[in-house]
């Protein structure tokens, strides 16, 4: 029987994988991909909470739940925003590459500290 806990655990694990990716990798594009992994984990969590709501907290009734799945709109907007963010991020990376011919974050260190 699959329940909320399973989805939350998976989402948490994916989130941690994303955080590890940002901390450990030096390639700017892979860092960006790890951030996308984190956002995807959040999306799974929200969708799971939408499907398996915690009725003991909150003010929505069962009837509301039948027609409104407003967590899903939240996920939709997060998808939109993160797509825009990827677009801008790739543009910034291209700019960096044009100036410094590298995408390794450790070689980009003119500003000390």
């Amino acid at each position: 029987m699959i329940g909320l806990n399973h989805y939350l655990l998976l989402s948490g694990v994916l989130f941690c994988l994303g955080v590890l990716g940002v901390i450990l990798r030096r390639n700017v594009l892979i860092i960006l991909m790890s951030v996308e992994l984190m956002l995807n984990a959040a999306n799974i969590a929200i969708a799971a909470f939408s499907r398996y709501p915690l009725f003991n907290a909150g003010t929505l009734t069962q009837e509301d739940y039948m027609t409104a799945g407003n967590g899903l709109v939240f996920v939709f907007l997060i998808l939109t925003v993160s797509a825009a963010e990827v677009g801008v991020g790739l543009a910034v990376v291209i700019n960096l590459y044009r100036q410094r011919s590298t995408v390794n974050i450790e070689e980009v260190n003119l500003l000390q500290g």
Partner: protein
């Protein structure tokens, strides 16, 4: 029964390919692993009866956004990365994340005294999670965020073009040539 199997399949794929994103040496392998992670997540969304989101994830996210990323990786002609070296700061970061993940695990699998009971799976109408339901919400209740999201996309397009375009010669040399290095501490 089939649903349970499908869940475990998608969960395993998501985890495996998520791991692939962060450990692959070649950025192209990372990008392809991320695409597969999104496909697995789309499967999970299908299980959660959020079919519109599942298709949007595949069509827009892995179909457009990731293609853009793969395009950029090819454009920059990136090769294999060097292996990761574990500096002290990185070790602390990894330790912290492992502790956080462990805490999450423990919290979720303790018994019901923690804070939420195993919630019931409510009955839903057939069109919950369909395009119609999401569209109804999006254009009535969430009208303002929808319009703001379109503003955000405009800003992102303008921004991306401005930053990524080839600078003119007088943009680089400028009216003042700032050849000096920034002064450090």
């Amino acid at each position: 029964m089939a649903a349970t199997l499908f869940f475990w399949l998608c969960a395993f794929l998501a985890f495996f390919f998520g791991l692939g994103v962060i450990v692959a040496r070649n950025p192209m392998h990372s990008a392809l692993s991320l695409v597969m992670t999104f496909v697995a997540s789309a499967g999970l969304f299908l299980l959660l009866h959020a079919e519109f989101l599942a298709w949007i994830l595949i069509i827009v996210y892995s179909g457009a956004v990731m293609v853009l990323m793969i395009f950029v990786i090819s454009l920059l002609n990136l090769q294999r990365d060097e292996p990761i070296e574990f500096t002290a700061a990185r070790r602390w970061g990894v330790a912290f994340v492992v502790v956080f993940a462990a805490a999450l695990l423990i919290y979720l699998f303790r018994d019901a005294s923690v804070g939420f009971t195993y919630p019931p799976k409510p009955a839903i109408s057939a069109e919950w999670g369909s395009a119609k339901a999401i569209a109804t919400d999006l254009f009535t209740r969430y009208l303002l965020p929808f319009e703001l999201a379109s503003v955000l996309l405009t800003a992102a397009v303008i921004g991306a073009v401005v930053i990524a375009r080839k600078p003119d010669p007088n943009e680089i040399n400028g009216m003042e040539s700032t050849g000096e290095e920034p002064s450090n501490q």
